[in-house]
């Protein structure tokens, strides 16, 4: 890595909570060469976005940059005065926000929002040149460049288009460095794939160094040249992408890789309990030690220094026990339920059509779920999968056709269903906040379905404790309130609440999409166990294709309100019959098999 | 509602307006003069006295130098340079968009100011409250009999439109007062109708009453008994219709805003100003502020609370005139314990009148002597002033067996002064060993069904001639018999009947003196004080004299003709 080719150098960067002085991130050191992409990976709260913003010399309210240097093309961003810093932003280093829906100004036209970057920084010789650059950059990010399009407002664009406008703003003034903060979160896979490709091409073509901040390993694997893994405010592993995925050295990285779902394998996802310590609560030693199987007194006493574990290149890791974690990839014990005969069907859908205010959004859907079977319902946002699952749960009433439970036809609205039926079909939502009463102890929330069914109080108490235990939360959690729990814990509570009434059918609607990968894995692990144990019929609604094989036996692919493909998970994902499914699979980022040397 | 009323109705205004719901502040005084049993009347009414047909030569009295000087009159001095002519006088008065302009009818004080500016009555009172003609249009009124009067008008007085004031105008003016369509003074119909008037010549009219009453004579001296030209009608948008004889004629009028009156060159008397603006104010504090900041020259009717701030300013001064409005504690002479005269007498001895003036009026008044009609020429000034005498009161109570009296004294919350009066009296009564509880009621309740029924209560009245006041409150036939006077066996009613038909002033005053004596010794009113009229003005405003008066600002400078600016 020669000095001439390095575009961005971060050295010993530290940011603190302004009021307390507790470190948010510390000892951040990395380089990115021109045209290269470095993936900065970590779970929420790890400090990756804080680092990303610091590259632009920006710290959010309450955060202070307290040490280190960030050098871009010879100038230290952190040492610039206000005016020079302002000049550097957008010109020297630019930023692509996480959610373009909120990061684009709703009151301004998109062309203008790109143009103002050029105007501010005096790009080009005159207005005509700047206008030409706007047109050009819109073409570069694969957006229409017609004047009429430039005059649109953000809300008139799709999510993918909005993100491309974000890219256009970032690339417009031809900066040396671009920080991308989870720019594809919330996009459907096809759009995400296109945006990622655009980023890759632009970075290469224009020799831009890109810092790509994300929690999504698959995206990093497909896009980045190098990967830095952050945990609790520190970079714990930094190496070429292939090395990180093929030979993860830090136990945390190894957990991450093991927890990442893979499209091509039905291996069991292995989660990890606990959570990373927040600023102010971090130990003196290795922050991961409390969750690490390998942790020794040494780990707890001292934070390991950076070691290079690749004699032939650069593979930095901060661990006394590098490579020491046992192999985490365990094949999954697949339940061999393949029957879809109506006799066995716990839940049967026949010609279900659902609509919103008269507009049909689900068309003529029929399928069954057998006892002990999990069917994954996959599709992009807007495909109708949520409407369908809500219709089954009786939460959406505007539907026709027949849905039957154990051969008994269900009323349209849950309110019209007998208590037994209501308890037999349970629902877990994406955001457990909405299903847990914020001012009620969780034990009360969990016991509520039983209370409604008129179960005796002491009995409820016992069942609740049992369920808490079952979802790996101790019974003492019962007195906690929802906001005292982490996202993963809340989702466990929601699952406990769903299962306490011993349902026959469990509907999980994007239950893991708000969770970090380790927690997601642990949640999936739990659901698989419970399903096997209780013989549940489960409908697992998700947009995350790689997750499917880790949990479901069969998969129903939904597009535009119709089921376009229905088959076993293995067949469908390895040998899709429909164009739509094929395209979805192609567009879904996946971690390549670095070990066997396949190209990304 | 109550608060708003307080804003509009200064304590000096008559009670009945409150009873009828903030309606009339007072129609022209003829109402009060003639029978006194309609009580939508009177901002201030007049006090009779004087000669039956006193004739004074028509003419003017120099401003600030009245022909006769009554006690309590403060002279304003005319500077060596003499009176200066010219200038515009800006007068502030509380008024509203409800203001009206009628030569013979008013509702609010602003209306009163405008009426007096534009029109003049048949006769007027002098400083001793005798009938005079120096500020009015008659040359002479002859009382031929108690039911026959002859009015002769001054010669050559011109209306604003150049027409000469004549007998037809006088007759029209009387007929307008009793016009049922207008409803100005419906009670006057008991004395006159359309056939009562005989035109003797161009300026002489004989009036034959339907029944004898000297009150009619005094009524003609009321400020509202004005002479309007034939076919005069109330203001309805056109200032040119408002024809009178006053020293200033109307130029413009916008209700709730202002009226502008310009000098009437052919005025029969003398005047000094070029223009008078009567400016409406939404409330009294804005009025006082405007005076303080120099936006107006005269502020009509200043609240006691703000009098001090005007007094303390070097550029402003107060014009404080003794007036006849009174507040009273009423005792029902027909009910226990007050059916025993000793108890009534004891109560009257309990009141510390000086303290009442200080506490209730902030000093802006004078002590009362349990008699009303103080601005009446017949008022017996020589009766000894009653003072507080607790020992005598105790003795009287003991005699009556009421030394441990416990009684409730009622007051309304909508009339400034009365709750304070009741409370102060209750405190003073403690010294005499009796327990008086002051109870303040909501105004609506107070003046409702139980009004005049309560044994021990409070009330207030504007000034009327003595006989008119008797008719309103102290006869069995009175409209508001608060004290239920006179007691059984009294010859009070016979005295009244004789007096009302007695055209000879001395003889009538003898009768009145006896009536007053009865009320002074045995009556049911505790009249502790009379209220003053207080106006503020810039020191350069000259010509207004502080003297006992019925109407604010020295009777509005008798229509501003006496006022001049020393600028």
């Amino acid at each position: 890595m020669s000095e001439q080719t390095v575009a961005l150098t971060i050295k010993d960067l530290r940011l603190d909570v302004a009021q307390t002085g507790h470190d948010i991130v510390d000892e951040i050191t990395l380089n990115i060469e021109r045209g290269k992409v470095l993936g900065l990976v970590g779970e929420s709260g790890s400090g990756k976005t804080t680092v990303g913003l610091a590259v632009l010399g920006h710290a959010r309210k309450g955060v202070a940059i307290s040490a280190g240097s960030i050098t871009i093309e010879g100038s230290n961003v952190l040492a610039l005065d206000r005016k020079r810093l302002r000049q550097a932003r957008g010109r020297l280093v630019s930023y692509v926000p996480q959610d373009p829906g909120t990061a684009l100004n709703p009151a301004l036209r998109i062309g203008g929002q790109v143009l103002e970057v050029l105007e501010t920084h005096g790009f080009g010789a005159d207005a005509a040149e700047r206008q030409a650059r706007v047109t050009e950059v819109f073409e570069e990010v694969k957006l229409p460049s017609a004047a009429s399009f430039l005059r649109r407002y953000p809300h008139q664009l799709s999510g993918g288009q909005q993100q491309r406008v974000g890219l256009a703003m970032a690339f417009a003034a031809r900066p040396a460095v671009i920080v991308l903060d989870e720019p594809t979160t919330g996009l459907d896979v096809t759009t995400q794939a296109h945006v990622l490709e655009t980023i890759r091409n632009l970075a290469q073509q224009h020799g831009v160094a890109a810092l790509y901040v994300t929690h999504d390993l698959a995206v990093v694997a497909t896009l980045a040249d190098e990967v830095a893994v952050m945990y609790a405010g520190r970079i714990v592993e930094l190496a070429a992408t292939a090395d990180v995925f093929a030979k993860p050295a830090h136990p945390y990285t190894r957990y991450l890789v093991a927890a990442a779902p893979e499209m091509g394998s039905d291996r069991q996802l292995v989660g990890l309990g606990g959570r990373a310590p927040s600023p102010g609560q971090r130990p003196k030693g290795c922050a991961f030690a409390v969750r690490c199987e390998l942790a020794t007194d040494e780990c707890r006493a001292e934070f390991p220094a950076v070691t290079n574990v690749n004699p032939n290149g650069s593979h930095e890791v901060r661990c006394f026990h590098a490579f020491g974690v046992p192999e985490r990839t365990v094949p999954r014990a697949t339940a061999s339920i393949t029957s879809s005969g109506t006799d066995d069907a716990a839940l049967a859908l026949r010609n279900v059509t659902a609509s919103y205010t008269g507009v049909a959004v689900v068309h003529d859907v029929s399928f069954d779920i057998a006892r002990g079977e999990c069917v994954a319902l996959v599709g992009e946002s807007g495909s109708g999968k949520s409407t369908l699952s809500r219709s089954i749960g009786g939460l959406h009433r505007e539907w026709q056709g027949e849905i039957s439970l154990d051969g008994e036809s269900l009323a349209r609205s849950s309110r019209d269903r007998p208590v037994q039926q209501r308890l037999a079909i349970q629902y877990v939502f994406q955001n457990p906040y909405s299903s847990l009463h914020p001012r009620r102890p969780i034990a009360e929330s969990i016991g509520r379905p039983l209370a409604i069914a008129g179960v005796d109080k002491r009995e409820i108490r016992r069942e609740v404790d049992r369920m808490l235990e079952r979802v790996s939360l101790s019974a003492s959690y019962g007195s906690h309130f929802p906001d005292q729990l982490s996202g993963g814990e809340r989702q466990r509570v929601a699952i406990a609440r769903a299962l306490v009434s011993k349902p026959k059918v469990l509907i999980c609607d994007e239950v893991t999409s708000a969770l970090d990968v380790l927690v997601q894995a642990a949640t999936i692990e739990l659901l698989v166990d419970l399903q096997n144990e209780l013989g549940l019929a489960m409908l697992f609604v998700t947009h995350n294709l790689p997750l499917v094989r880790s949990i479901a036996q069969r998969v129903a692919v939904m597009s535009d309100g119709a089921i376009v493909e229905l088959g076993t998970a293995e067949d469908t994902l390895s040998n899709p019959q429909q164009d739509y499914t094929q395209r979805l699979l192609i567009d879904t980022p996946r971690i390549p098999d670095f070990e066997s040397g396949q190209p990304a | 509602m109550t608060d708003q009323r307080k804003l509009w109705v200064p304590p000096t205004l008559g009670r009945r307006q409150l009873i009828v719901g903030a309606g009339a502040v007072g129609a022209a005084g003829l109402l009060a003069a003639c029978g006194g049993d309609d009580d939508t009347a009177s901002v201030n009414t007049t006090a009779p006295s004087g000669t039956t047909a006193a004739t004074e030569p028509p003419g003017t009295t120099a401003p600030g130098a009245p022909a006769t000087t009554a006690p309590g009159v403060t002279e304003t001095t005319v500077p060596a340079g003499g009176i200066k002519s010219g200038g515009t006088l800006r007068v502030g008065v509380v008024g509203s968009t409800n203001d009206l302009m009628d030569a013979q009818y008013i509702v609010a004080r602003a209306d009163q100011a405008r009426l007096i500016t534009g029109w003049e009555p048949i006769s007027n009172y002098d400083d001793n409250f005798n009938i005079a003609y120096n500020n009015s249009l008659a040359e002479e009124i002859e009382a031929v009999a108690p039911d026959q009067y002859v009015v002769r008008l001054k010669q050559g007085v011109e209306f604003h439109n150049g027409k000469t004031v004549g007998a037809d105008d006088l007759i029209y003016s009387f007929n307008r007062l009793i016009d049922p369509e207008l409803g100005i003074a419906p009670n006057l119909t008991q004395f006159i109708d359309a056939n009562s008037f005989t035109k003797l010549d161009d300026r002489t009219v004989q009036i034959d009453l339907l029944k004898p009453s000297v009150a009619f004579l005094y009524g003609m001296a009321d400020y509202g008994a004005t002479i309007v030209p034939v076919d005069y009608a109330r203001f309805a948008g056109d200032p040119a219709t408002q024809i009178g004889t006053g020293a200033f004629k109307l130029k413009s009028f916008t209700p709730g805003s202002e009226s502008v009156h310009t000098r009437f060159e052919n005025y029969w008397g003398e005047s000094y100003l070029d223009e008078v603006q009567i400016i409406d104010f939404a409330d009294q504090s804005a009025l006082v502020n405007a005076l303080s900041s120099g936006d107006i020259d005269v502020a009509i009717d200043v609240p006691y609370a703000q009098a001090g701030s005007i007094e303390s300013s070097g550029e402003l001064t107060l014009l404080e005139s003794q007036a006849g409005n009174w507040q009273t504690i009423t005792m029902r002479v027909d009910m226990a314990p007050f059916d025993d005269v000793r108890v009534r007498q004891a109560m009257r001895l309990i009141s510390n009148r000086e303290e009442m003036v200080q506490r209730v009026l902030s000093g802006h008044g004078r002590v009362g002597n349990d008699m009303y009609g103080v601005l009446d020429g017949s008022y017996p000034k020589d009766f000894p002033q009653r003072e507080q005498d607790i020992e005598a009161a105790k003795a009287l109570l003991k005699d009556a067996g009421q030394e441990n009296l416990e009684i409730e004294l009622f007051a309304p919350d909508d009339t400034a002064g009365l709750p304070e009066y009741a409370t102060a009296f209750a405190e003073q009564a403690k010294a005499a060993g009796i327990n008086v509880t002051a109870t303040v009621l909501d105004g609506g309740t107070y003046w409702g069904d139980q009004y005049t029924q309560r044994v021990f209560a409070t009330s207030y009245w504007s000034t009327r001639p003595y006989l008119n006041q008797v008719g309103a409150g102290s006869l069995p036939t009175a409209t508001y018999p608060e004290t239920h006077w006179p007691p059984a066996g009294s010859n009070f009613v016979e005295l009244y009947d004789q007096a009302i038909a007695e055209v000879d002033t001395d003889k009538r005053n003898e009768l009145i003196r006896e009536m007053q004596r009865q009320e002074y010794e045995e009556g049911g009113n505790i009249i502790s004080y009379f209220q003053n009229l207080i106006d503020g003005h810039a020191t350069y405003v000259k010509g207004a004299v502080a003297r006992p008066n019925l109407i604010n600002f020295d009777h509005f400078g008798r229509g501003w003709k006496n006022i001049w600016l020393d600028l």
């Binding site: - | 309606g23 509203s96 409800n98 409803g183 804005a286 936006d295």
Partner: protein, 318 residues
């Protein structure tokens, strides 16, 4: 274009609103009391009362009277004041002008001022300037208008200095422009009364906007702070503030009785206050309808402005 259709639709809605209001106003003014009794007093003779009632058309059925009144209102003949026989329009035309002028002047000062203060304090959030100003705004918002007005009068007009007139003195028939001196205290009082409300709303809206992703983004694009504020933050904070401004404008047009009274300002508020106890229905009705109209118009304007500064709403129309 869609916006015109919207304006027409909203105008029609406004007219419908005013129609409903007119019915309510008419019915309510009819229960104020009997104006004839008030005019003539208790001693009035019955046939006089009857005659006067006929003269005022009070003997007609209420439905007929309503339509007669409505027709008069629409044809510019809103009737005659019961108390003094002056045509309502003659009585109130100056006051309409004055009130509108007071409203316009107070708005023209208080709206930019409160937007500025709100924006500035939001920008300097928790700084000393913000603390001082926010506290002041709170104190002012809590202070009754007559206290503020009386303070100003004492300080600037009567007791301490004589810099400005204590009372307004717009002559009948003259434009309020003729008495700008006299407008100073009433306008200042109203500005002090209205600014806290609008300012605090603006501050809250601005704080929300300043914390938005797009403002952070604007800064990360290297835009000068001026451009961040005026181009990116301000228009977005304006939307929520407009509704509050509209309410305040309607208030300024007719609800400022205390200020009018304090400064003897010849506005509609006082006229309404004076007319109600006298059951002076034509005056009450006219003023109530005027205030309702201002209310409808200012809300309409606020909605339109909101649409203009909110492209999401604007483009939906197209």
């Amino acid at each position: 274009m869609g916006i015109f259709k919207l304006i027409i639709r909203r105008l029609l809605l406004g007219v419908a609103t005013l129609f409903v209001v007119s019915i309510a106003v008419f019915l309510l003014t009819n229960v104020l009391g009997d104006p004839v009794k008030r005019m003539l007093g208790r001693g009035a003779l019955p046939d006089v009362v009857t005659a006067r009632r006929a003269e005022l058309n009070l003997d007609e059925p209420i439905v007929n009277r309503y339509f007669t009144w409505l027709k008069g209102l629409l044809t510019g003949e809103p009737g005659v004041s019961y108390t003094n026989g002056t045509p309502v329009w003659e009585l109130l035309s100056d006051r309409v002008k004055n009130s509108l002028f007071l409203m316009a002047l107070s708005s023209a000062i208080s709206i930019p001022l409160s937007l500025f203060i709100g924006g500035y304090t939001a920008l300097r959030r928790d700084g000393w300037a913000d603390r001082v100003m926010s506290n002041q705004l709170l104190v002012l918002a809590a202070m009754p208008e007559f206290v503020v007005g009386a303070f100003l009068t004492v300080i600037f007009a009567t007791n301490i200095w004589h810099i400005v007139p204590a009372v307004s003195r717009i002559r009948p028939g003259e434009s309020p422009w003729s008495d700008l001196d006299g407008m100073i205290l009433p306008v200042a009082t109203l500005v002090l009364a209205v600014t806290p409300h609008v300012g605090r709303t603006m501050r809250a809206a601005m704080i929300e906007v300043l914390e938005s992703d797009y403002v952070e983004m604007a800064r990360l694009k290297g835009l000068p702070e001026r451009s961040v504020l005026w181009r990116h933050a301000f228009p977005n904070a304006l939307g929520p503030t407009l509704q509050v401004i509209a309410l305040n404008i309607a208030y300024l047009a007719g609800g400022v009785v205390i200020v009018e009274s304090l400064f003897n300002f010849r506005g509609l508020g006082i006229a309404l206050r004076d007319a109600i106890p006298e059951a002076n229905a034509p005056v009450v009705q006219f003023i109530a309808m005027f205030i309702a109209t201002i209310y409808v118009i200012s809300n309409l304007m606020a909605d339109l402005f909101t649409i203009i500064v909110t492209p999401r709403l604007r483009t939906r129309l197209q």
